[in-house]
Protein backbone atom coordinates (compact mmCIF):
# COMPACT_ATOMS: atom_id res chain seq x y z
CA UNK A 1 0.00 0.00 0.00
CA UNK A 2 2.81 2.40 0.96
CA UNK A 3 4.75 1.75 -2.23
CA UNK A 4 1.65 2.26 -4.35
CA UNK A 5 0.94 5.55 -2.60
CA UNK A 6 4.42 6.96 -3.05
CA UNK A 7 4.66 5.77 -6.63
CA UNK A 8 1.56 7.87 -7.36
CA UNK A 9 2.84 10.93 -5.56
CA UNK A 10 4.33 12.77 -8.54
CA UNK A 11 1.16 12.33 -10.56
CA UNK A 12 -1.06 13.46 -7.68
CA UNK A 13 0.99 16.56 -6.94
CA UNK A 14 1.62 17.60 -10.52
CA UNK A 15 -2.08 17.37 -11.36
CA UNK A 16 -2.84 19.96 -8.67
CA UNK A 17 -2.06 23.32 -10.27
CA UNK A 18 -2.58 25.26 -7.03
CA UNK A 19 -0.18 23.04 -5.16
CA UNK A 20 2.48 23.29 -7.87
CA UNK A 21 2.08 27.08 -7.86
CA UNK A 22 2.54 27.25 -4.07
CA UNK A 23 5.76 25.28 -4.41
CA UNK A 24 7.20 27.28 -7.27
CA UNK A 25 10.13 28.58 -5.20
CA UNK A 26 11.12 25.13 -4.00
CA UNK A 27 13.64 22.95 -5.82
CA UNK A 28 15.17 20.29 -3.62
CA UNK A 29 15.35 16.59 -2.87
CA UNK A 30 13.98 15.36 0.44
CA UNK A 31 13.90 11.97 2.09
CA UNK A 32 10.74 10.19 3.16
CA UNK A 33 11.23 7.08 5.25
CA UNK A 34 8.41 4.59 5.58
CA UNK A 35 9.59 2.05 8.12
CA UNK A 36 12.70 0.39 6.67
CA UNK A 37 12.18 1.82 3.18
CA UNK A 38 13.68 5.13 2.09
CA UNK A 39 12.30 7.29 -0.71
CA UNK A 40 13.88 10.33 -2.30
CA UNK A 41 11.39 12.89 -3.56
CA UNK A 42 12.83 15.40 -6.02
CA UNK A 43 10.99 18.67 -6.53
CA UNK A 44 11.70 21.25 -9.19
CA UNK A 45 9.81 24.55 -8.92
CA UNK A 46 6.89 22.87 -7.25
CA UNK A 47 6.64 19.87 -9.57
CA UNK A 48 7.63 16.45 -8.26
CA UNK A 49 10.08 15.30 -10.90
CA UNK A 50 11.10 11.97 -9.39
CA UNK A 51 10.25 9.59 -6.57
CA UNK A 52 12.94 6.95 -6.12
CA UNK A 53 12.84 3.96 -3.84
CA UNK A 54 15.94 3.07 -1.80
CA UNK A 55 18.17 1.64 -0.57
CA UNK A 56 20.62 4.40 -1.50
CA UNK A 57 24.38 4.31 -1.11
CA UNK A 58 25.48 7.95 -1.12
CA UNK A 59 22.75 10.42 -1.89
CA UNK A 60 22.25 13.93 -0.62
CA UNK A 61 18.95 15.28 0.60
CA UNK A 62 17.95 18.51 2.30
CA UNK A 63 15.55 17.31 4.98
CA UNK A 64 14.10 13.99 6.04
CA UNK A 65 10.70 12.95 7.35
CA UNK A 66 10.71 9.51 8.93
CA UNK A 67 7.84 7.45 10.31
CA UNK A 68 6.80 3.82 10.53
CA UNK A 69 4.62 2.25 7.85
CA UNK A 70 1.78 2.12 10.34
CA UNK A 71 2.16 5.81 11.11
CA UNK A 72 1.96 6.76 7.44
CA UNK A 73 -1.09 4.57 6.98
CA UNK A 74 -2.80 6.29 9.90
CA UNK A 75 -1.70 9.69 8.59
CA UNK A 76 -3.20 8.94 5.18
CA UNK A 77 -6.54 7.68 6.56
CA UNK A 78 -9.45 9.60 4.96
CA UNK A 79 -10.27 11.13 8.35
CA UNK A 80 -7.17 10.61 10.48
CA UNK A 81 -7.55 10.14 14.21
CA UNK A 82 -6.29 12.80 16.62
CA UNK A 83 -2.51 12.63 16.87
CA UNK A 84 -2.16 11.17 13.37
CA UNK A 85 -3.68 14.10 11.45
CA UNK A 86 -0.63 16.32 11.03
CA UNK A 87 3.10 15.94 10.57
CA UNK A 88 3.85 17.85 13.78
CA UNK A 89 1.16 16.03 15.73
CA UNK A 90 3.14 12.90 14.87
CA UNK A 91 6.55 14.39 15.72
CA UNK A 92 5.26 15.64 19.08
CA UNK A 93 3.85 12.18 19.78
CA UNK A 94 7.13 10.52 18.81
CA UNK A 95 5.52 8.85 15.77
CA UNK A 96 7.65 10.74 13.23
CA UNK A 97 10.91 12.66 13.08
CA UNK A 98 11.99 15.62 11.00
CA UNK A 99 15.68 16.40 10.55
CA UNK A 100 18.29 17.90 8.26
CA UNK A 101 18.27 21.37 6.71
CA UNK A 102 14.95 22.68 7.98
CA UNK A 103 15.03 26.00 6.13
CA UNK A 104 13.58 24.74 2.82
CA UNK A 105 10.97 22.81 4.80
CA UNK A 106 9.93 25.73 6.98
CA UNK A 107 10.03 28.29 4.17
CA UNK A 108 7.72 26.04 2.11
CA UNK A 109 5.88 24.38 4.94
CA UNK A 110 2.36 24.56 3.56
CA UNK A 111 3.58 23.09 0.27
CA UNK A 112 5.52 20.23 1.86
CA UNK A 113 2.72 19.39 4.29
CA UNK A 114 0.23 19.41 1.43
CA UNK A 115 2.49 17.15 -0.67
CA UNK A 116 2.86 14.66 2.18
CA UNK A 117 -0.90 14.73 2.84
CA UNK A 118 -1.83 14.50 -0.84
CA UNK A 119 -2.27 10.71 -0.82
CA UNK A 120 -4.95 11.14 1.86
CA UNK A 121 -7.59 11.79 -0.74
CA UNK A 122 -6.30 9.04 -2.99
CA UNK A 123 -5.65 6.41 -0.30
Amino acid sequence: MIAAVLEQLAELVNADAGLVRRGRYLSTTFLVETGATAWLVSVHEGRVTRVERGPFLMRAWSFAVRASEEAWQRFWAPVPAAGWHDLFAMTKGGQATVEGDLRPLMANLRYVKDVLAKPRRAA
Partner: protein
Protein backbone atom coordinates in the same frame (compact mmCIF):
# COMPACT_ATOMS: atom_id res chain seq x y z
CA UNK B 1 -31.89 47.08 2.47
CA UNK B 2 -28.28 46.37 3.43
CA UNK B 3 -27.61 42.88 4.76
CA UNK B 4 -25.98 44.13 7.98
CA UNK B 5 -24.70 41.83 10.68
CA UNK B 6 -25.48 42.79 14.30
CA UNK B 7 -21.77 43.23 15.08
CA UNK B 8 -20.62 46.80 15.80
CA UNK B 9 -16.92 47.74 15.92
CA UNK B 10 -15.46 50.65 17.88
CA UNK B 11 -12.20 51.89 19.38
CA UNK B 12 -11.68 52.59 23.06
CA UNK B 13 -8.83 54.67 24.43
CA UNK B 14 -7.15 53.30 27.50
CA UNK B 15 -3.85 53.25 29.35
CA UNK B 16 -1.96 49.99 29.77
CA UNK B 17 1.35 49.83 31.66
CA UNK B 18 1.48 53.63 31.65
CA UNK B 19 1.16 53.95 27.88
CA UNK B 20 -1.82 55.17 25.90
CA UNK B 21 -3.48 52.58 23.66
CA UNK B 22 -6.32 52.65 21.19
CA UNK B 23 -7.97 49.26 21.30
CA UNK B 24 -10.40 47.95 18.72
CA UNK B 25 -13.31 45.80 19.81
CA UNK B 26 -16.47 44.37 18.34
CA UNK B 27 -19.65 43.67 20.20
CA UNK B 28 -23.17 42.36 19.75
CA UNK B 29 -26.04 41.54 22.03
CA UNK B 30 -27.18 42.58 25.45
CA UNK B 31 -27.20 41.16 28.92
CA UNK B 32 -24.31 39.72 30.85
CA UNK B 33 -21.00 40.98 29.47
CA UNK B 34 -18.95 38.18 27.87
CA UNK B 35 -15.40 39.29 27.02
CA UNK B 36 -13.63 37.09 24.46
CA UNK B 37 -9.83 36.69 24.21
CA UNK B 38 -8.35 35.58 20.90
CA UNK B 39 -5.44 33.18 20.39
CA UNK B 40 -1.78 34.09 19.91
CA UNK B 41 -0.96 35.86 16.67
CA UNK B 42 -4.62 36.25 15.68
CA UNK B 43 -7.40 38.75 16.41
CA UNK B 44 -11.00 39.15 17.51
CA UNK B 45 -12.44 38.04 14.19
CA UNK B 46 -12.12 34.51 15.56
CA UNK B 47 -15.33 35.25 17.50
CA UNK B 48 -17.49 36.42 14.62
CA UNK B 49 -19.70 33.33 14.79
CA UNK B 50 -20.26 33.77 18.51
CA UNK B 51 -21.05 37.47 17.92
CA UNK B 52 -23.56 36.50 15.24
CA UNK B 53 -25.22 33.77 17.29
CA UNK B 54 -28.65 35.07 18.36
CA UNK B 55 -29.03 32.26 20.88
CA UNK B 56 -26.04 33.73 22.70
CA UNK B 57 -26.48 37.46 22.09
CA UNK B 58 -30.02 37.54 23.41
CA UNK B 59 -28.59 36.82 26.84
CA UNK B 60 -25.02 38.09 26.59
CA UNK B 61 -23.30 41.28 25.48
CA UNK B 62 -20.47 39.55 23.59
CA UNK B 63 -17.34 41.69 23.28
CA UNK B 64 -14.14 40.68 21.46
CA UNK B 65 -11.16 43.02 21.46
CA UNK B 66 -7.99 42.92 19.41
CA UNK B 67 -4.95 42.96 21.67
CA UNK B 68 -2.52 45.82 20.93
CA UNK B 69 -0.28 44.77 17.97
CA UNK B 70 -3.11 42.53 16.66
CA UNK B 71 -5.93 43.02 14.20
CA UNK B 72 -7.06 46.65 14.07
CA UNK B 73 -5.38 47.65 17.36
CA UNK B 74 -2.12 49.39 16.55
CA UNK B 75 1.02 48.87 18.60
CA UNK B 76 1.77 51.65 21.11
CA UNK B 77 3.72 54.70 19.97
CA UNK B 78 7.42 53.87 19.74
CA UNK B 79 6.87 50.23 18.74
CA UNK B 80 9.34 50.46 15.88
CA UNK B 81 12.28 50.19 18.26
CA UNK B 82 10.85 47.40 20.41
CA UNK B 83 10.57 43.64 20.32
CA UNK B 84 7.01 42.71 21.20
CA UNK B 85 6.82 40.26 24.11
CA UNK B 86 3.65 39.26 25.94
CA UNK B 87 4.07 38.53 29.65
CA UNK B 88 1.66 37.14 32.20
CA UNK B 89 1.62 40.43 34.09
CA UNK B 90 1.13 42.52 30.95
CA UNK B 91 -1.71 40.30 29.73
CA UNK B 92 -3.57 40.41 33.06
CA UNK B 93 -3.17 44.20 33.16
CA UNK B 94 -4.47 44.53 29.60
CA UNK B 95 -7.62 42.51 30.27
CA UNK B 96 -8.39 44.38 33.49
CA UNK B 97 -7.76 47.74 31.79
CA UNK B 98 -10.15 46.81 28.99
CA UNK B 99 -12.87 45.73 31.44
CA UNK B 100 -12.39 49.00 33.37
CA UNK B 101 -12.33 51.12 30.19
CA UNK B 102 -15.76 49.78 29.20
CA UNK B 103 -16.99 49.84 32.81
CA UNK B 104 -18.09 46.22 32.58
CA UNK B 105 -19.46 44.82 35.79
CA UNK B 106 -18.21 41.35 36.66
CA UNK B 107 -18.02 40.08 33.10
CA UNK B 108 -17.66 36.49 32.04
CA UNK B 109 -14.30 36.03 30.31
CA UNK B 110 -13.86 33.38 27.64
CA UNK B 111 -10.35 32.98 26.23
CA UNK B 112 -8.74 30.53 23.84
CA UNK B 113 -5.13 29.25 23.88
CA UNK B 114 -3.14 32.17 25.35
CA UNK B 115 -6.58 33.54 26.27
CA UNK B 116 -7.47 30.20 27.83
CA UNK B 117 -4.22 30.13 29.76
CA UNK B 118 -4.60 33.66 31.14
CA UNK B 119 -8.04 32.94 32.59
CA UNK B 120 -6.24 30.61 35.01
CA UNK B 121 -4.33 33.61 36.30
CA UNK B 122 -7.50 35.75 36.39
CA UNK B 123 -9.11 32.96 38.43
CA UNK B 124 -6.18 32.82 40.84
CA UNK B 125 -5.61 36.55 41.38
CA UNK B 126 -8.85 38.38 40.57
CA UNK B 127 -11.67 35.86 40.93
CA UNK B 128 -14.14 38.30 42.48
CA UNK B 129 -13.94 40.60 39.45
CA UNK B 130 -15.52 37.98 37.19
CA UNK B 131 -18.85 36.19 37.05
CA UNK B 132 -17.32 33.09 35.45
CA UNK B 133 -14.18 32.16 33.54
CA UNK B 134 -13.99 29.90 30.50
CA UNK B 135 -10.68 28.57 29.21
CA UNK B 136 -10.62 26.98 25.78
CA UNK B 137 -7.50 24.95 24.96
CA UNK B 138 -6.21 25.90 28.39
CA UNK B 139 -3.56 24.31 30.59
CA UNK B 140 -1.09 25.28 33.29
CA UNK B 141 1.65 24.01 30.99
CA UNK B 142 1.94 22.32 27.62
CA UNK B 143 5.06 20.75 26.10
CA UNK B 144 6.29 22.58 22.98
CA UNK B 145 5.84 20.88 19.62
CA UNK B 146 8.63 22.69 17.80
CA UNK B 147 11.95 23.78 19.20
CA UNK B 148 12.52 27.27 17.94
CA UNK B 149 9.91 30.03 17.69
CA UNK B 150 12.59 31.98 15.81
CA UNK B 151 11.17 30.35 12.64
CA UNK B 152 8.20 32.68 13.03
CA UNK B 153 10.24 35.85 12.60
CA UNK B 154 13.24 35.82 10.29
CA UNK B 155 13.83 37.47 6.94
CA UNK B 156 14.20 34.31 4.87
CA UNK B 157 10.92 32.67 5.95
CA UNK B 158 7.60 34.44 5.38
CA UNK B 159 6.05 34.96 8.82
CA UNK B 160 2.46 34.80 7.63
CA UNK B 161 2.97 31.74 5.47
CA UNK B 162 4.70 29.75 8.19
CA UNK B 163 2.21 30.78 10.86
CA UNK B 164 -0.64 29.54 8.68
CA UNK B 165 1.20 26.36 7.75
CA UNK B 166 2.04 25.49 11.34
CA UNK B 167 -1.46 26.24 12.64
CA UNK B 168 -3.15 24.21 9.91
CA UNK B 169 -2.29 21.04 11.81
CA UNK B 170 -4.04 22.25 14.94
CA UNK B 171 -7.40 22.32 13.14
CA UNK B 172 -9.49 19.16 13.25
CA UNK B 173 -9.89 17.36 9.91
CA UNK B 174 -13.68 17.54 10.34
CA UNK B 175 -13.72 21.35 10.42
CA UNK B 176 -15.38 22.83 7.32
CA UNK B 177 -13.04 24.31 4.67
CA UNK B 178 -14.57 27.80 4.90
CA UNK B 179 -13.95 28.24 8.61
CA UNK B 180 -10.63 26.36 8.47
CA UNK B 181 -9.29 28.84 5.92
CA UNK B 182 -10.81 31.88 7.66
CA UNK B 183 -8.90 30.81 10.73
CA UNK B 184 -5.63 30.38 8.85
CA UNK B 185 -6.01 33.70 7.02
CA UNK B 186 -6.02 35.51 10.37
CA UNK B 187 -2.73 33.80 11.19
CA UNK B 188 -1.29 34.73 7.84
CA UNK B 189 -2.09 38.39 8.53
CA UNK B 190 -0.22 38.88 11.80
CA UNK B 191 2.45 41.58 12.10
CA UNK B 192 6.12 40.58 12.08
CA UNK B 193 7.20 39.01 15.36
CA UNK B 194 3.79 39.32 17.01
CA UNK B 195 2.94 35.61 17.05
CA UNK B 196 6.41 34.86 18.38
CA UNK B 197 5.97 37.55 21.04
CA UNK B 198 2.69 36.01 22.19
CA UNK B 199 4.27 32.58 22.37
CA UNK B 200 6.75 33.83 24.95
CA UNK B 201 3.76 33.94 27.28
CA UNK B 202 2.27 30.68 26.00
CA UNK B 203 5.45 28.64 26.15
CA UNK B 204 7.71 30.29 28.75
CA UNK B 205 6.26 32.90 31.05
CA UNK B 206 2.87 31.21 31.38
CA UNK B 207 4.06 28.05 33.13
CA UNK B 208 1.52 27.94 35.95
CA UNK B 209 2.20 24.45 37.26
CA UNK B 210 3.30 25.84 40.60
CA UNK B 211 0.21 27.97 41.21
CA UNK B 212 -3.05 26.68 39.70
CA UNK B 213 -3.82 24.76 42.89
CA UNK B 214 -4.41 28.16 44.54
CA UNK B 215 -7.50 28.75 42.36
CA UNK B 216 -10.72 28.81 44.39
CA UNK B 217 -13.66 28.00 42.13
CA UNK B 218 -16.16 28.82 44.87
CA UNK B 219 -15.27 32.48 44.26
CA UNK B 220 -15.65 32.22 40.49
CA UNK B 221 -16.71 29.18 38.44
CA UNK B 222 -14.08 27.87 36.02
CA UNK B 223 -14.88 25.92 32.87
CA UNK B 224 -12.16 24.29 30.74
CA UNK B 225 -12.99 22.99 27.26
CA UNK B 226 -10.40 21.41 24.97
CA UNK B 227 -10.63 19.93 21.48
CA UNK B 228 -9.59 16.32 20.94
CA UNK B 229 -7.44 17.25 17.92
CA UNK B 230 -5.43 19.89 19.77
CA UNK B 231 -1.87 18.59 20.06
CA UNK B 232 -0.55 21.95 21.31
CA UNK B 233 -2.70 22.03 24.44
CA UNK B 234 -3.87 18.45 24.59
CA UNK B 235 -6.93 17.07 26.38
CA UNK B 236 -4.44 15.39 28.75
CA UNK B 237 -2.84 18.78 29.52
CA UNK B 238 -6.22 20.24 30.41
CA UNK B 239 -7.25 17.20 32.45
CA UNK B 240 -3.97 17.28 34.38
CA UNK B 241 -4.49 21.00 35.09
CA UNK B 242 -8.07 20.46 36.25
CA UNK B 243 -7.00 17.73 38.65
CA UNK B 244 -5.20 20.41 40.65
CA UNK B 245 -8.19 22.79 40.71
CA UNK B 246 -11.06 21.67 42.90
CA UNK B 247 -14.37 22.40 41.19
CA UNK B 248 -12.99 23.04 37.67
CA UNK B 249 -15.39 21.66 35.08
CA UNK B 250 -13.75 19.97 32.08
CA UNK B 251 -15.23 19.16 28.70
CA UNK B 252 -13.32 17.43 25.91
CA UNK B 253 -14.79 18.47 22.56
CA UNK B 254 -15.02 15.93 19.75
CA UNK B 255 -13.97 16.81 16.19
CA UNK B 256 -12.41 20.10 17.29
CA UNK B 257 -8.81 21.31 17.41
CA UNK B 258 -7.14 24.39 18.88
CA UNK B 259 -9.58 27.05 17.57
CA UNK B 260 -13.09 25.86 18.52
CA UNK B 261 -15.07 29.08 17.99
CA UNK B 262 -13.32 29.83 14.73
CA UNK B 263 -12.57 26.52 13.03
CA UNK B 264 -15.90 24.78 13.61
CA UNK B 265 -18.49 27.14 15.11
CA UNK B 266 -21.43 24.74 14.70
CA UNK B 267 -19.69 21.98 16.58
CA UNK B 268 -18.42 24.39 19.24
CA UNK B 269 -21.86 25.80 20.04
CA UNK B 270 -22.99 22.30 21.08
CA UNK B 271 -20.44 22.54 23.86
CA UNK B 272 -20.51 26.23 24.75
CA UNK B 273 -24.28 26.79 24.90
CA UNK B 274 -24.75 24.51 27.94
CA UNK B 275 -21.84 26.27 29.66
CA UNK B 276 -23.39 29.68 29.04
CA UNK B 277 -26.77 28.40 30.24
CA UNK B 278 -25.11 27.14 33.38
CA UNK B 279 -23.48 30.54 33.97
CA UNK B 280 -26.81 32.35 33.50
CA UNK B 281 -28.36 29.99 36.00
CA UNK B 282 -25.75 31.07 38.51
CA UNK B 283 -22.89 28.68 37.81
Amino acid sequence: MADLEPIVGRYVRMTVAGRPHRVYFEEAGQGLPLVCLHTAGADGRQFRHLLNDLEITRHFRVIAFDMPWHGKSLPPVGWQDEEYTLTTRGYVDLIRAFVAALALERPVVLGCSIGGKIVLELARLHATEFRALIGLESADYQAPWYDDTGWLHRPDVHGGEIAGALMSGLIAPQSPPETRWDTLWMYMQGGPGVFKGDLFFYRADGDFRDRVAEIDTTRCPLYLLTGEYDFSCTPADTARTAEKIKGARVTIMKEIGHFPMSEHPEQFRRYILPVLDDIRAGG
